[in-house]
Subunit: 195 residues, 2 copies
Amino acid sequence: MSPDIETLIQKISRLPGLGPRSARRIVIHLIRNREQSLEPLLQNMDHVFKNVQVCPACFNIDTFSDVCSICSDKKRRQDVICIVENVADLWAIERTSCFGGQYHVLKGLLSSLEGQGPEFLMLEELQKRCHENSVTEIIIALSATVEGQTTEHYIKSFFKNKDIKITSLARGIPVGGELDYMDDGTLFAAFSARG
Amino acid sequence: MSPDIETLIQKISRLPGLGPRSARRIVIHLIRNREQSLEPLLQNMDHVFKNVQVCPACFNIDTFSDVCSICSDKKRRQDVICIVENVADLWAIERTSCFGGQYHVLKGLLSSLEGQGPEFLMLEELQKRCHENSVTEIIIALSATVEGQTTEHYIKSFFKNKDIKITSLARGIPVGGELDYMDDGTLFAAFSARG
């Protein structure tokens, strides 16, 4: 194997979810299907990564010219903003089509371990945007982890005395979940929020 | 999500071993680590796929100028040729460093289901090469599957009346394998080839 191919396998094996074995399979697949699989992939990658940028309004990552496709979509509600941790979470919510408002994408959650302070939340920018668009509700859609909860509390206290309703996703039994497999925290949350 | 990114995710999810979820993770990782992870990967891919070619002697796929690095390595034995199904198998054998001769890489195994006939084995080319390099042994290193065995028989009958020793990899209990987990075929092969 030439050093070029070896380096390529190494680089691909460092992508999330992949290892040396799967990287080798992918490289062999790409080499074998050069015309059908590789050339279009390379062009597509090149195009996306030359055009991708962070939306100045909601910090979503997308390919666009001015603001991102969600911010520029006039059919979406302008008065509700949903706070998500990252673009993956935004995509997950968009796939369900259950939310038709705007987003605010954090750079990360508050985490003293990883040195992520309040500047990762860009709440001043969010506050300014809320004021300009007369936002009435902010939905906090963060993971139910320690970092997610800490961040949620911080955001709630930041918007405490402002005239905006702050809500967060319901905690409870996931759809299809069996009771005796649930942990104590989930059961407790499901009982407290019963209705 | 812009259509560009969606197409990219689709293309990546079609690579072997990946699905839509892992493709999304990879794309987000690449977008986020544009300088460190993406630019070098793109350059590397582009370089490899512009330079990769099939070796005219052994049909190995590699980046080289004249013949592949194995064929041009004068330290390797010229009188032993190992037949492998594909480049992945060649790489696997090279990783163990247990073989120091030449290779002959098939385009595929004989398979009537997939319409792969004897032209996939390129045995005339192999025979010519054996003659030119006065090869004394051909090692058949094919998988112990039905297609592998059929191909092995075909190769053996092709070289029947020529003055070349044809051997194939030993069948038996894999190292670390427990007896009571072995299938009948493996046990039978291990008993027949005991020594």
